[in-house]
């Protein structure tokens, strides 16, 4: 039915305000023509968010970390490393991100970071292809993009900091499963995070390949389930594995959320010593389970170092010291024994080999 006229006029004015306000302030640095929009901020004083092209300007170091999700202690540990680097280099550190590890939720954060004009975005991708357009858009505006932990699609980043050589993880996890299964024989299952995470898929593929080696012939991989990096779901999936496969010997969880959930379930059901848990876990989470034998050995890498390295790489990109091309080298003090890192194919830098944690060394770590 007819809305009253004054209401209509006001409404149309409102819609016009946005459109005109947006178009009125062009991205060019010249003063924009006067707009009828009610906003009184003079567009002429707007400095474009894009930095000047080409010259190796001094690094601004206004760096933002966008992890897969923010309520995850793994990423908090990485953030601690990033913050340390920021303090040392005199830069800024911010972390923003979605509440759920879903690409659709991560993208608005990337877009807003671009709009806000951070100098670098350090991102762990929930979905490699989904985030690519937003990241490419950021790069086109002069923002440096550094991937860490989970790689965006090729071409959507300047450098990807890989925590460790993926091909080492599959082999390592197979070895730990072999160590824990009696006589390296028995059923094993994988409890993963999200099914689209590229790192998870790479590690699982890798582990499957590693398991074909002759020394692992006694191990039988019976299932791969997904806990979505959610404690509740991971718990349910782990419990489900125990019910589905009464003869299961080892649960391998290449996710810090999953390994903790699996360890809890095994312990709560009194299966410590019958079913073992291994995979990638945070030392602080897993200390009690190493002590009581639920998870005698598992691994990871130095997560704070990952954040630290990622921040430094972003800083180096901003300063123009590196461009991300294969073969470039750089050094970061305190990492890699102060030896230089070399950028590999697809602009990937590897932090180092994975650590194995067990009761001999776990007390030395605090993250």
């Amino acid at each position: 039915m007819k809305a009253n006229r004054s209401g209509r006029i006001l409404a149309l004015l409102g819609a016009a305000a946005i459109v005109v306000g947006a178009c009125g302030s062009a991205a060019s640095p010249t003063p924009a023509p006067a707009t009828p929009a009610p906003a009184t901020v003079a567009p002429a004083t707007v400095a474009p968010a894009t930095p000047a092209p080409a010259t190796p300007a001094a690094a601004t170091l206004n760096i933002v970390f966008i992890p897969k999700a923010v309520n995850n202690p793994y990423f908090d540990a990485a953030a601690a490393g990033g913050k340390k680097a920021a303090d040392e280099l005199g830069g800024q550190f911010t972390q923003i991100g979605p509440n759920n590890a879903v690409a659709a939720e991560q993208i608005p954060f990337i877009q807003d970071a671009t709009t806000k004009g951070y100098s670098s975005i350090v991102v762990s991708a929930d979905g490699p292809d989904e985030v690519a357009p937003a990241l490419k858009d950021a790069m086109s505006k002069g923002i440096k993009v550094v991937g860490y932990d989970s790689s965006p699609a090729e071409g959507a980043y300047d450098v990807f900091v890989n925590q460790t050589d993926f091909s080492l993880i599959g082999g390592a996890m197979s070895q730990w499963a072999c160590d824990l299964a009696p006589d390296c024989t028995g059923q094993i299952a994988i409890l993963s995070a999200t099914a689209t995470a590229p790192n998870q898929n790479a590690w699982i593929e890798d582990m499957k390949k590693a398991l074909t080696a002759p020394q692992f012939v006694g191990l039988k991989l019976v299932d791969v389930v997904y806990g979505d990096d959610d404690p509740g779901k991971s718990t349910d999936q782990a419990a489900g594995l125990l019910q589905k496969y009464p003869d299961l010997k080892v649960i391998v969880a290449p996710t810090t959320v999953g390994i903790l959930a699996a360890a809890q379930v095994v312990k709560q059901q009194g299966k410590t010593g019958t079913v073992f848990v291994t995979g990638l876990g945070l030392p602080n989470d897993m200390k009690p389970f190493v002590a009581d034998g639920t998870s005698p050995e598992f691994g990871l890498w130095s997560v704070p170092d990952l954040g630290y390295l990622a921040y430094n790489v972003a800083a180096l990109l901003e300063a123009g010291t590196i461009t991300g091309a294969e073969g470039e080298t750089f050094t970061v003090k305190g990492l890699n024994g102060d030896q230089p890192y070399t950028i590999g194919p697809k602009s990937v830098v590897i932090l180092g080999p994975p650590y194995k944690f067990d009761k001999t060394n776990i007390d030395q770590f605090n993250f």
């Binding site: 007819k2 004054s6 409102g14 947006a22 509440n99 689209t196």
Partner: protein
Amino acid sequence: MSATGETPKPADAAVVVGETTSVGRSGPFRLRRLASWEALLALVLLGLVGLGAATSPKVFLTPGNFSNLTAAVMEVAIMALPMTLIIIVGDIDLSVESMLGLASAVLGFLWAEGVPLEVGIPVVLLMGAAGGLFNGLLVARGGLPSLVVTLGTLALFRGLALVVLGPRGISKFPEAFTDFGFGTVPGTPIPWPLVVFTVIAVVLGVVLHRTWIGRQVFAAGKNKDAARYSGVRVQRMRIALFVLSGTIAAFAGVILTARFASARADAGQGMTLTVVTIVLLGGVSINGGRGTILGVVLAAFTLAVLGNVLRLANVSAELQSIATGLLLILSVVIPSVARQVSSAIGRARRDRRPPVATAEPGEVQSLI
């Protein structure tokens, strides 16, 4: 009793804030006309634009930001349009987010199997219509409450999406497709989906407010039995509206897939809440019989701008979801309280006349 379980109320002769139907036009004061819901929304929108300009001056009023903030809300806004008609008629469709996800999943599945998008997209739209038909038949012919039916299909469609595609995401779509979702009309910051939205909004707005179909929708919303006795084919209309809602939800799924360059079974999770919020914020009464497309359009932009302003000001996502929930509740509480106040004033003023019928204290609001 009508299908919504509500006894029909006599048309309110008193002026009610937010009342924009022909009955409510009879307001004695010009001031009250200005205070229509749409006008209020427009003011809020202007205020938010001003707030955004003030708090994030360098970035808010840029074409890039405008493009981002509208693109992010287009799928939800598009689904809010048929939802408006459905709520006016007195039903509700909670399953839209799942039909969106199912559409994305099926489209991705077909694409991965080598089916070209020219075939995949119409298939998916037909599927949306079929899903809507399923809803409509259960509600109109089966006489089941739309709340529960669409709660069931909310789960069913999502489940089917998961069965079709599993947890994987399909990407590597052709660039033309993703440009449609992510790109803008050349030379302007207007995202393509906004063009789609505008077209649908104009069409539905004209149909609802200017044609006999629209009058029938309002009539059925106010009093199904009376409408039926007047010759309105109520059941057929309800089914048609559900079919429309399903088809458009599927279309929104196509748009989302293009925008993210990725088809996923969990696409659109949580969108139903936002869609309902937009419709109610737009002044459409949850009890049916009242509302305008213009209000819903304004509400969509208001929500988009609000989210954008908050994000740019670094307000956390948690506060944003609290804000959305509050907005939803306030959009119903404010008119309700205003109505009570206004009728109380009216009663006090015209104390000789019998009071205007309003909801009795403690009356149980029924489910839709």
